[in-house]
Amino acid sequence: MTDLASASEVNETGVNITINGVRVVAPKGELVIDAAERNGVYIPRFCYHPRMEPVGMCRQCLVEVDTGRGPGLQPSCMLTVSDDMTVDTESETTKRAQEGMLEFLLVNHPLDCPVCDKGGECPLQDQTLAFGPGESRFVEEKRHYEKPIPISDLVYLDRERCILCDRCTRFAKDIAGDPLIHFMHRGNETQVLTFPDDPFNSYFSGNTVQICPVGALTARPYRFRARPWDLAEVESTCTTCSVGCRVAVQSSRNELLRYEGVDIESVNHGWLCDKGRFGFESVNSDQRLAGPYLRDVNNSDQLVGTNAALEAAATAIGAGRGGGGVGVIGGARLNNESAYAWSKLARTVIGTDNIDAQLADGLSAQMVLSLPRATIADATSADNVVVIGTDLKEELPVLFLRLKGAAQSGRIKLTELSLLVTGLSKHASASHRYVPGELAHAVGELLASNPQLASGSTVVVIGRPSAADFPDEVEAAVGVLTAGLPLATFLPALRRGNVMGALDMGLSPGVLPGRVSLDEGRDWFGSVWSSLPGEVGLDTAGMLEAAAAGRLDTLVLLGADPLADVPDRDLVERAFAGVGSIVAIDNFVTESVKRANVVLASTAFAEVGGTTTNLEGRVSRLGQMITPPGTARADWMIAAELAWRLGGDLELESLAQIWSEIEAVAPSHAGCTLEVVEAEGAIEGVVVPIPKSPDLAGAPSGPASIRWSAPALAEPPSVDGYSLRLVARRKLYDAATNTQMAPSLANLAEQAQLMVHPGELRRLGVESGTRVNVTSSRTTVVLSLVGDAAMPRGLAVMGLRQPGLAASELIDLRAAITELRIESR
C-alpha cells in the first residue's frame, strides 16, 4: 500500500513510539503527523502537505511530545519520530494550543463562508469545528483588503481569507518552478501577491486553488458555480495528454464543473496541469456536435437522424471497400474499448489495414511498441535520464513536474538533447543543442562523451523534436541509443491523450491489438477475428498521398483534424480534393469536419467510461459522469452499427465485454482483466504487459511481440547559408479545438509568430516585430518576426498550431527538414 509517508524520506528501520497511549512502530524518518495519521489519529494542519517540504508555518499541528526531557509542544509536521517518543494529541495542553492557534487564525479571517467557494469542503471550517474553541474573544475590526483580485487569467486571490500557510507559494516555487507569487510585506500586512503586471501565469496554477486550505484562492472557471455538497463525483483519468493524471470529475445537473487532482504515487502525485484541469469547459461547450448531419452537393448541411447518417456513412465506406479503398485517420481521442472496436471494424469488416491514430506528427508505432518501456517511477529513480527532442513542459506537463522534482532532489542525473532550450533545461545536469536533421549524429556524440550513461540504469524519454523534420531522424537516433545503451528503457513522449491505447489496440498500419505485427499476428488473429487484410496498409501520410492521387475513395476521420494537425497542409488539401467522400466522427465541427460529407457526433471525456492507457502503458479506468449532448454516441457503438450496416458483426456489446475480449486476444494485455483494473486500491492503474507469474511462464500467450529495426544513419542535410531551418514546436496552449472550445484557456494561446536569434534580425536588417514574407518549398506566408536571444542561430521557430497561422502551411512532410527564406515586405 502506498501511504502518505512515502513522500518524505522513510527507510525501513522501525522506531517505537507511543501515540495517545498506544505503542506503534513507525519507519525511521517519518514525520510525527504522518505516523499519527497512519495509525488513525488525525492531527489538524494547514501548511503541511504530504507532497511538499514541511515548513512549520501555521503551528496548527502542535502536539505534546515527550522525548525523555519532559512533555512540550512541538509542531508534528516538522518533527520526525524517534525511539521511545511519546505523543499526546489529546492532552489538555495540546487542546489549548490547537484552540489557541485557531482563535488566532480566525482573528483576521472574514468568515464569509456563505459566499465562499470553499465553504463545505474547507479545512479551516472543518478543523475549527473539530479542534477550535467555539468562540472568539476578538472584537476589534478585522484586516481589510480588496476582494478578490485576479492574480492570473485563471486564479483569483482573496487576501482577507488567506491564513498565510505558504502552500501556494511553496508550490509555485518548489513544485512548479514558477515563483511568481510570493509573500510580500511583513507582520500584520503580510500577504500573497504577484509582482505588478507579472501575473501568476504558471501552467500549474490551478493546483494552488486545490491545495489552498481556505477559500483565498479560487479558480475562475468554477467560481460561484456550485456548492461542494451539490457536486456528484467520479474518479477518472485525464486524457488531455498521454501522462494520464488521475482526476476526480465533478458535476452538477449533468454539467461538468470541476476536475480535482487525485494523488496517485505512480503518476501525478495529486497535481494536474491547467490545460487538463480546466479542459472540462470544452466538454460543456455549446459548440459541441449534438447530432449527425449530411452535407449535400451544394455544400449545404442537412440535419438527419442517426439511422440515416449511419446509413450514409456505411454507404460511403462500402463504396470505398468495393472500389479504391478506405482509410481511417485518428483514434487517439477514443478510449481503449472504442479503439479496439475500430481496429476490429477496419481489419475484419472493412478489410483494410489503412488505419493510423497518429497524424504524421508522432513516432513510428513499430518503434514505440517494440522498445523496452520504462514507467514514470523508473524515470524518477534511474541513475540517468536522457530527454531527447521534446519540451516536456509544453507537451506532457505533469511528467515535466515529476522529472524536474527528481532532478532537483538529486535522485537522477538529467541529460537533455533538444533543438531549443526547454522548460527542463535549467534543471538538467547537462543540456545540449543540435541542428535539425542531425539528431542521430548528436546522439552518437552524446553517448561518446558520456560513458556514464552506459553504466547504471538509464531511462530515455523520447519525443518528436519538431514536426518540421522527418521522423526517420528520431528512429535513426533511437537506433544509435539502443546500440549504445542496450539496457536502457524508454518512455515515448507522444502527446495525444490515449495515443498509447490506440497503438496498443492496433490503430496503426501493420499493427494488431496487443503489440503484435500484422504478419506475426496473422495466425493468432486469424483464429479469433473473422478475417484480416492481406497486406500492411498505409499510414496517415500514405493515405493522404493516396487520396491526393485519387487512389483512395473514402476517408474516415476518427476524431482527427488533419487540416490542422498534419504537418503538411498542402498535402491535406490535395487529399481532401482528391478523395471520393469523407466521413467524420467528432465532438466538434472542426475545420476538417467542415469538409466531410457525413458527420456523426461522438461522446467526449466523462461521457463514456471504459479504460485509457498512458505513455507508460498504464491502463486505468475512465469515469462516466454526464450524458452526451443530443444523440452523440460512444465511438465503439458507432463502429458496431457501421459493421452491422456493412454486413458484418463485431460481436461487441458493452464496454465490459469489449475489455474481456481485449484481455483474451491482445497478447500484451493478457491477465489484465477488468477485475484487475477495477480491483480495490487499483487507482494506480495497471501497467501492461503484466509480468507473467513464474507458474504461467511456459503457457502459450499468442504471438511474439513486434519487431523494429532502426533505419540506416542518413547523411545530415547540407547547410544552405541563406536559409533558416524551421522548427515547428508545440506549445501547451494552441489552436487545438479542445483548447479553443474552453473559454478560460482559449485566450492563453499565443498568436503565431516566427522567432529567430537577434543576430538573424540584424542580418536581415529588420526590427523585432516586423511582418516579413516567409517562403518555404510549399508557400509564402506573412508572419511577424521576433528576435529572442534564446533561439539558436540558423533556426526559425514557430508553434505548430498557434492561432493565426499553423506551421503546417510551410511544411512538406516528405522533406527531411524545412528551410525558410525570409524577406522584408
Partner: protein, 204 residues
Amino acid sequence: MRFFTSENQRLATEIIGRYPKARSATIPLLHLAQEQHGWISDDAMIEVGRLVDATPAEVKGTATFYEMFKFAPVGKYLINICGTMSCQLLGADHLMHHAETKLGVVAGGTTEDGLFTLEHAECQAACTEAPTLQVNYRHQYRVTTESFDQLVDDLAAGNLDGEIPPHGTLGRVRQAIPADKSVGAVPPTEVDGPPVWLAVEGAS
C-alpha cells in the same frame, strides 16, 4: 536601457561575485538601487531579479519585508522621529508636532521641494539620549524644537553635506572585500581546511 549606471553596474557585478550564490546579493543590490534613486522602483526590482536570477515577485517579497527600503519617492533627507517610551516621556509628541509645523507635512509626507520626508519611528536604541531622531539613519540626540529648526535649516543650506549623504547612501555596499575574504572566490563546496577568514584572523 539598463537600470544601473555603468559605474553601479560594475559594482553590482562585483557585489554578486562576493557570494557563492548570486541570490545572496539581493539585498546589497537593492541598497545599491536605493542609493542610485533614493527609493526602489519596480524597474529596480526587475533588474535586481534579472541580475540574481530571481523573479521580480521574489525580489519584491524580500524587499518589502524591510522598513528601510522605500517603494515610493522619499525626500533627500528622511527624518525619523522616535516615538517609543523614553522619547515619548521626554517630549517626542511635541517634537513631532513641531516638525510637522516646521516642514508643513504630516508624518509620512514629503515636502513639496522634495527635500524632506518625515516619519514616525520605533525605538532607535538611544534611550539615554532621548528624544532622538535620525536623518538618513544618522542619529541626532536630545533634540529640542530649536535644534530641530537649526538641523532643518542646515540640511537645506547644504551645511551638513559632508556628514549626511542623500537618502539611500550606504557605506556597506561600497565596502571593498579583499579577494581572499570574498566567499565567491572559493565556492564553499571546494573549501578544504578551515575557512579563509579564520586563517587570516588567527594569524593576526
